[in-house]
């Protein structure tokens, strides 16, 4: 590699990393507790504890659950029902003043599917973990915050790529994983920066890129609404607003018939950003491990309960679905979570050592200039 080329890549590496470092440090620090949010909620007693009832206890139908939810929060309307394998007896319920209310102003709780009892989920609506999540997702700045973080993620990916290019000239005369400890602190940290940087390459790229995709989720959902959803509900464009909804009772059966072999993930009630003004949207997921992250919406007319359409999935919604596990690290048991945390910590070390190396070089070159 020519020295001119090395200087150029070095410039790219220095500046892409310096610009994104503070944001990446914040993301890495807030991401650490989020890896274990399930366990932390449990420890704090913030996770739903449903009573143990006989296994054959009958379950309420969906319309009965809707009524239970409305009784629990009078004056609010249904936005979503969601299902989670971890709590087969519970239905996650999200309500707000209007169906179109933005997610951060909604209220999330759990309904016991057997008796309609509401169980509060404090950590889903506030508290320390929610602060961590909001910092991590948008720094409390809404869409501009998300897009800024997405841009920082792109810089991070560029920093990784330029770092890999620079690995070659730096390591030409060194054996893999050699750390020179006896020369100087700078050389020791340079070697550690190179070693940790290169071995965590795949993980950092995957978490970085999936983070960027997730940060663009609002834009992807908006695109899906105009493209796919828009085409599916075109006949309803001029239909008058609904005054009353048909009961939700059989939504799951109707959706299961329309999308055989799939399982329900969540229902979006009419008027939310995942449905239309005239439809219930039942989002079905695949039944294998891999396809359980890919969602297919079944649009059900909220007046007649006829299936209007079974949605096609555009590629970017699949990319968004697959990004989630790959970003959260929640799909390989506790050992994976621990490794995720270790790799997160190692990323912090690479970021910190990078700033240190830049600082030491800068001070050295300033000194040489002074000496002249």
């Amino acid at each position: 590699m020519k020295s001119q080329t090395i200087r150029r890549w070095s410039f790219v590496h220095t500046w892409t990393s310096l610009i994104c470092t503070l944001f990446l440090l914040m993301l890495a620090l807030t991401g650490l507790p989020l890896i274990f949010h399930h366990e932390i909620d449990h420890l704090l007693g913030d996770s739903a504890a449903l009573p143990t009832l006989p296994a054959d206890t009958p379950r309420l139908d969906l319309q009965q659950l809707v009524r239970a939810a409305e009784a629990h929060r009078p004056g609010e309307v249904m936005q979503y029902f969601g299902w989670d394998e971890d709590e087969p007896n519970g239905v996650t319920t999200i309500m707000a003043k209007t169906a179109g209310t933005e997610p951060n102003s909604s209220h999330t709780f759990m309904l016991d599917a057997r008796n309609g009892q509401a169980v509060e989920l404090p950590s889903a609506n506030g508290g320390l973990m929610m602060v961590m999540l909001r910092l991590h997702v948008d720094m409390f700045a809404g869409l501009p915050g998300k897009l800024l973080l997405a841009f920082m993620g792109v810089l991070f990916v560029l920093a990784i790529i330029s770092g890999v290019v620079l690995y070659l000239p730096f390591m030409r005369r060194l054996k893999f994983a050699s750390v020179r400890r006896d020369k100087s602190t700078r050389l020791r940290w340079l070697d550690l920066h190179n070693l940790i940087g290169i071995v965590t390459l795949t993980w950092c790229l995957v978490v970085g890129i999936t983070g960027v995709i997730s940060a663009c989720a609002d834009l992807l959902i908006a695109a899906w609404r105009t493209d796919t959803l828009g085409a599916m509900i075109a006949p309803y464009r001029d239909a008058p607003p609904l005054t009353e909804l048909a009961p939700a009772t059989r939504l799951l059966e109707i959706a299961a018939e329309a999308a055989p072999g799939m399982r329900p993930d969540f229902i979006a009630f009419p008027g939310t950003r995942f449905s239309s003004e005239h439809h219930y949207a039942v989002f079905m997921k695949g039944s294998t491990h891999l396809t359980s992250h890919l969602l297919t919406p079944v649009l059900i007319d909220a007046a007649t309960l006829q299936v209007t359409a079974v949605g096609q999935r555009p590629w970017y919604m699949d990319a968004m679905g697959m990004s989630q596990p790959l970003h959260f690290g929640d799909y390989g048991g506790m050992p994976m979570k621990v490794l995720w945390a270790v790799l997160d910590g190692l990323t912090i070390i690479v970021l910190g050592s990078g700033v240190y190396l830049w600082w030491v070089r800068r001070r050295a070159s300033l000194k040489t200039e002074d000496a002249r």
Partner: protein, 61 residues
Amino acid sequence: MKPRSSNFWTVFGIPVLIALLSAAGLFAALLGDGAWDALSWVGLGIPAALSLRGLLGRCHG
């Protein structure tokens, strides 16, 4: 200076192998539980172990 190609694989041989193992591990756990998860622990465990060895180890190299 040596020709670039031989240089490339001496420097990048092991890192490429580690990168591929990590990628395989990340993908494997998406496919199932049990053994599939274990593959991801190996794939991500290698980078973690090598880094920690570098950070904590004494003089070797």
